[in-house]
Amino acid sequence: MIRISAKLRASLFLASLGALLLAALAGPLTAGAAAPASAAATEQPETVCIQCHSALPDKLGAPVNLWRQSIHAENGISCNGCHGGDPKNADDAMNRSRGFLGAPKEADIPAFCGRCHPGVLKDYLASAHGRALGKGGPTCFTCHGNHQVLKASLDLINEKSCTRCHSFERAKTIRAAMQQTEGYIVGIDRRITGFQAIGVDTDRLGKGLFAVRNRFHTLFHDVDVARVRAESAQINTELAKLDRDLKVIEEARAKRKIAGGIAVAFMLLMAALVLLLKKTYD
C-alpha cells in the first residue's frame, strides 16, 4: 500500500506556505516588467526627418546618430523641436511656411536654444561668455554640443573643453566650489526618486529640489568665483533642509521594519506555542 507519512504531509504543508511567499514574489516580477514604462512613455514615433536623414551619407546623416545619444532624444525632443517644419509630412518637413528654421548662424545660436531655455539664455548673456558672443566667445554648442546635446552637469567644465579658449585655472576653482553642491543635489534627487517609486508622497520635496536645482543651474554660466562660492553655500543650506526631511522619512521606515520584525517573530512564536499545545492533545 502506498502511504504518505504525516511528517511528509506536514513538510509539504509548510513548504506550500513558504510557496505563498514565492507566489507573492511573482508580483515584483510584474513590477520589473513594468519598470521601463516611464522611459518608453517618452518615446516618439519616428519622424520623417529621421527616416530620410538616416539613409543619407556623411554630414547629412551624421546628426541622426549624434541626436540619438543626446539628452533631447532621451526626453523625446526630436529634430522639429529645434529646427521646426512638419515632422509627419516629408513634403513640408523643410517648408519655411511650416516653421522650418534650418541651422542657425553662429550669433543666433543662443537665441535658437533660448526659445526653450530662456532662463539659461539670460544667465549666459549676462556672463563673460555671453558678452563675448560674436567676438570669438563660445556659444551653447561649444560646450554642450549641437546634435549630441549633453545634459548640463559639472562634467562639462573640464580642462579639455575650457583650454580650447583659455586657461583652466579659474574654471577649476569654480568647478571645485560647485562640486559638493552638485553631489548633494544628485544624492537627494536619487533618494527622492527612490521614495517616489515606492509610494512616498515626495511632491513637496520634489518641488523644493526643483527650485534649488534651478537656482544652482544659474551659476553654471557664471564666471564670478566669489559669487559662485557664496551662492553655493546658501544652496547647500537649502539642501540640508531637504536632507533632514528625507532622514525623517528614512527613520520612520526603519522603525516600521523593527515593528514588522517584532510582529513576524511574535506570530512565529505563537505558531510554535499553539503547535506545542496541540501536541498535548494528540
Binding site: M1, A31, G199, R256, M267
Partner: protein, 367 residues
C-alpha cells in the same frame, strides 16, 4: 472564573449554549488522520474577514472620483496615521487570498475531496475562486494610478474577442468606449457593495454543504483506502472515534493562521513594494501609455494564452474550455479512488496542468 461560569450558565439557560458547544465544537468529530491542509479553509475565512475590515477602514478616506481617487490613496498611504498599514494589509491580503485559495483547491484536487457526493462543495469553491479574482480585478482600478488604469484597459479589452456581443460587453464593463470616470464608479460599486456580499453568501453555501456532508477523510489512511465512503442516498459522513474539532483541530487552525500571519506580515513590512510597480504611484493618464503593462501574477497565464494564439477568440475559447473542465471535474471524474498515487492519469494531468500554468505565467512575465 466563578463570574465567567455564572455568565455562561445565564446564556446557556436562554439559548442552550452547552448543547451548541457540544454539537459544533467538542462533539464535532473529525477523521483521526486529518492533516494540515484542511486548515486552509479557516485561513481563507480569516483573510476574507481581514479584507472586509481593512476595506471598510479604507472606505472612510477613499474617494471614488477620478479626480480625487489617486490623491485620496496617497493621503491614506502618507498622512493618515497607520493608513499605510491598513492599505498594505488590504493590497497584500488580496494577493495572499488568491494564493491560499489556489493551495486550498490544489489540496482538494490531490486528495480527491471533490468527488461524489461533494460535487457541490467543489462547484461552490470554484465559484468563490472566480469571485475572488473578480473582486481583485475591480479593486485593482480603484487607486486610479497609471498601473491600475492601463491594466484595467488591457483586461476589459479582452472581452472584445467575444463574437457579436464583445464590443457591447466592453462598453458595459467600462461604462463608455474607454476606461474613464464611469468605469471607476461601477468598479467601486461592484468591489465594495456587490462582490463582498456575493462572496459571503457563497462562503455560507460552501460551509452549509460542508456541514451537511461532513468533513471528508484524507485518502491516506488504511480504512479509507480499503473502503471509500460512497453513500447511495443522502448521508452525513460521521467519524466515530475521531478527534474533536475543539480543542484539537481548532489549535491546528490557529497554528496555520499564525504561520500565515507571519508570512503575510513579513511581506507587509519588508517586501510591500514587490506588489507595486513605480507606475502604481503615478496618477492615471489616458494620454500616456506605459510600456510593458502586465496583469497581476495570477492573471499572467491567461494573458500569455491570449498572446500565443493567432486569434484572441481562440485563446479565450481555450481558457473558457479549461475553466469549464475544471469547474465540472467532479462530474467528469467519477472514479471512487481518491489516493493521488493510485490515480496516475489524474496525477500526470494535474502536475502537467500546474507546470503549464507556471510556465505560461513565467512566459507571460518575460514576454
Amino acid at each position: 472564573m466563578a463570574l465567567l461560569k455564572r455568565v455562561y450558565d445565564w446564556i446557556d439557560l436562554r439559548i442552550g449554549a452547552r448543547e451548541i458547544v457540544k454539537k459544533e465544537l467538542t462533539g464535532y468529530l473529525l477523521p483521526r488522520n486529518i492533516n494540515e491542509w484542511y486548515s486552509l479553509g479557516s485561513v481563507l475565512m480569516v483573510i476574507f474577514a481581514l479584507q472586509v475590515l481593512t476595506g471598510m477602514l479604507l472606505m472612510v478616506y477613499y474617494v471614488p472620483d477620478a479626480e480625487k481617487a489617486f490623491r485620496s490613496v496617497t493621503f491614506v498611504m502618507n498622512e493618515l496615521p497607520y493608513g499605510w498599514l491598513i492599505r498594505l494589509c488590504h493590497a497584500v491580503g488580496s494577493n495572499m487570498m488568491v494564493a491560499v485559495l489556489i493551495l486550498h483547491m490544489l489540496s482538494t484536487l490531490m486528495m480527491g475531496s471533490y468527488k461524489s457526493p461533494r460535487e457541490l462543495n467543489w462547484v461552490s469553491g470554484f465559484t468563490l475562486f472566480a469571485l475572488v479574482q473578480g473582486i481583485s480585478l475591480t479593486g485593482y482600478l480603484l487607486p486610479w494610478s497609471q498601473l491600475s488604469f492601463w491594466a484595467t484597459t488591457v483586461a476589459t479589452n479582452s472581452a472584445n474577442a467575444i463574437p457579436v456581443v464583445g464590443p457591447y460587453l466592453v462598453e458595459f464593463l467600462r461604462g463608455g468606449k474607454l476606461v474613464g470616470p464611469p468605469t471607476l464608479g461601477r468598479f467601486f460599486a461592484v468591489h465594495v457593495a456587490v462582490l463582498p456580499v456575493v462572496i459571503a453568501a457563497v462562503i455560507g453555501a460552501h460551509l452549509f454543504l460542508l456541514k451537511r456532508t461532513g468533513i471528508s477523510t484524507p485518502p491516506f489512511g488504511s480504512l479509507e483506502t480499503k473502503k471509500p465512503w460512497r453513500p447511495d442516498s443522502y448521508s452525513y459522513q460521521h467519524h466515530p472515534g475521531g478527534i474533536p474539532f475543539f480543542p484539537n483541530y481548532a489549535l491546528q487552525d490557529l497554528t496555520s493562521i499564525c504561520v500565515y500571519f507571519a508570512i503575510f506580515l513579513a511581506v507587509v513590512f519588508f517586501l510591500p513594494n514587490m506588489l507595486f510597480t513605480p507606475d502604481a504611484f503615478v496618477p492615471a493618464n489616458a494620454f500616456k501609455t506605459p510600456a510593458h503593462i502586465k496583469p497581476e501574477w495570477y492573471f499572467l497565464a491567461n494573458y500569455q494564452t491570449l498572446k500565443i494564439f493567432p486569434s484572441e477568440l481562440l485563446g479565450l475559447s481555450i481558457q473558457a474550455a479549461a475553466m469549464t473542465f475544471l469547474a465540472l471535474l467532479p462530474f467528469i471524474d467519477r472514479s471512487p479512488e481518491r489516493h493521488p498515487l493510485k490515480r496516475p492519469v489524474f496525477l500526470a494531468c494535474a502536475i502537467g496542468g500546474i507546470l503549464l500554468w507556471i510556465g505560461l505565467s513565467v512566459w507571460g512575465h518575460f514576454s
